[in-house]
């Protein structure tokens, strides 16, 4: 069974797996964002039945126990998935969230997409078209980094106010 695990190191000048903080400039000032540490990208086997789930978890399990685990599961090869496979995905998500990490699904095969929809879990996961997109998403500026004090429409309304005054 083809199963490849590889690591992506996020964009930082120093490389390596040590944690490095990154500062992102926002309107409000600087926001500290952790971008370091490896992102684990793992390919899910073609058939995800009870036996395969056990084997797969033996490989993935230790990675989930790290600090702030960041995991991308590549579902491009999935052709069949039993309820045990869906439970495994939910279990992994629960584990990474417990440790302040995240799990994202990428390159879902049509079969995987249908099964996740069928089992009503497709909306639970963040999904991406490719693994690269999923990896890059870990590097995106989180919502809380953007100033929430001024509503987005404030400028528009200010302009409208000017128009009103003019009329």
């Amino acid at each position: 069974m083809l199963r490849v695990a590889w690591l992506y190191l996020l964009l930082n000048e120093h490389g390596g797996e040590q944690e490095l903080d990154r500062k992102v400039k926002t309107r409000k000032g600087e926001y500290k964002m952790l971008t370091s540490g490896p992102i684990v990208v793992m390919q899910v086997p073609e058939v995800l039945n009870v036996g395969e789930v056990h084997n797969f978890m033996q490989e993935l399990g230790p990675l989930l126990e790290s600090n702030r685990p960041r995991v991308v599961l590549d579902l491009s090869q999935v052709r069949s998935m039993e309820s045990a496979g869906v439970e495994m995905l939910l279990h992994c998500l629960e584990e990474v969230l417990k440790r302040d990490g995240d799990l994202k699904l990428a390159a879902l095969s049509p079969e995987a997409e249908v099964i996740l929809e069928l089992m009503r879990v497709s909306r639970v996961f963040e999904t991406f078209r490719t693994c690269d997109d999923a990896v890059r998403s870990f590097n995106a500026i989180p919502a809380e980094a953007v100033s929430q004090n001024t509503p987005w429409c404030a400028n528009v309304f200010n302009e409208l106010g000017i128009v009103k005054q003019a009329s």
Binding site: S80, S83, P110, E111, V114, E117, L118, M119
Partner: protein, 317 residues
């Protein structure tokens, strides 16, 4: 005297249910699959009984797929054809039932007699149908209609009648929806207990289940608590939709169990085989908790009147 021969299994001419990989239904043509309570081939036979003196249906049994070769079906058809000649039929209608059609057979027969040709073939807007009326005094056997001499000596009967080629899963779904919306003469079996909701005898629908029109619930179907059946879905005979599952714009073929808490949409399910029309993907679900073949229960303990009093139905489109 008019005789009719319907041949349901022409897998070399009709693309059957290629989406399924399971043993049960491989190569079963769509025309032999229950649609709103009755297979199209049975509906055709019923319609032919009104105008024909003799009707024979030649089919490969569902559980003998592969056991009989196509040639043996042809032999049976030839035998039937010879039998009709012996009984004095002056015209024989041959229908290779891969397509659902609503031809006016009486009008086609009148046309055939006017033309005085050996054979008349029916055509609809999008091409020829595998429906012929042949003159047995010219045609020696059933298989003659496929010969080049038959092509040379046949008249063309053009009709504007409704026809569905039933070549794919989406054709099948289209037939279901056309039946619901009265775009063809195919009417759901059972009683229309609310506008757009048909329920057949023996169906058991729990009080908290919700059926939204148009929808069809077949014979001895069990719909468990908190289920939702909606948007032109049909649940065919002896199937079971288990607790909390939603079925939307989907067809559940006979003897299918659909598990707990699922969200089934834009799909056709036949036992453990699922074809999703939106993603154009077929799956075999090996997990029996999710999908499986259900055994025919034949409960028949609840009449449709009982069903009406016990269920929550809505005729909201």
């Amino acid at each position: 005297m008019l005789g009719a021969i319907i041949i349901t299994d022409h897998s070399d001419r009709v693309q059957g249910r290629t989406f399924v990989s399971g043993e049960r239904s491989a190569q079963t043509p769509w025309a032999a699959v229950e649609v709103l309570g009755k297979p199209p081939v049975t509906r055709l036979a019923d319609a032919l009984w009104e105008v024909c003196d003799l009707v024979s249906v030649i089919a490969r049994p569902r559980d003998h797929v592969g056991a009989q070769s196509e040639s043996s079906l042809t032999d049976l058809a030839d035998e039937c054809f010879a039998n009709y000649i012996g009984k004095g039929c002056d015209a024989i209608l041959i229908a290779c039932c891969g397509t659902y059609f609503e031809l006016d057979i009486a009008s086609m027969l009148a046309f055939h007699q006017e033309q005085c040709l050996a054979c008349t073939r029916a055509f609809v807007d999008d091409g020829p149908l595998d429906v012929w009326i042949v003159d047995p005094s010219v045609a020696p056997a059933y298989s003659w209609v496929f010969s080049s001499s038959a092509c040379a000596r046949s008249a063309v009967y053009r009709s504007q009648a409704y026809a569905n080629r039933l070549q794919s899963a989406s054709d099948f779904r289209r037939l279901v929806l056309d039946g619901f919306h009265s775009r063809c003469r195919l009417r759901p079996e059972g009683a229309e207990i609310k506008p757009g909701i048909w329920v057949c005898e023996g169906a058991q629908i729990e009080r908290s289940a919700r059926i939204v029109a148009p929808a069809f619930v077949g014979r001895n179907v069990q719909i468990s608590e908190e289920c939702l059946i909606t948007r032109g879905s049909n649940v065919e005979s002896n199937s079971h939709i288990d607790f909390g599952t939603g079925v939307e714009n989907s067809s559940i073929l006979p003897n299918t169990y659909v598990g707990i808490g699922l969200d089934l949409s834009h799909s056709i399910v036949d036992g453990r085989n699922l074809f999703n029309l939106q993603h154009n993907v077929s799956l075999e679900i090996t997990d029996p908790v999710v999908l499986r073949e259900s055994t025919a229960r034949g409960r028949g303990r609840q009449s449709s009147a009982d069903v009406e009093s016990g269920m929550a139905v809505s005729s909201v489109e």
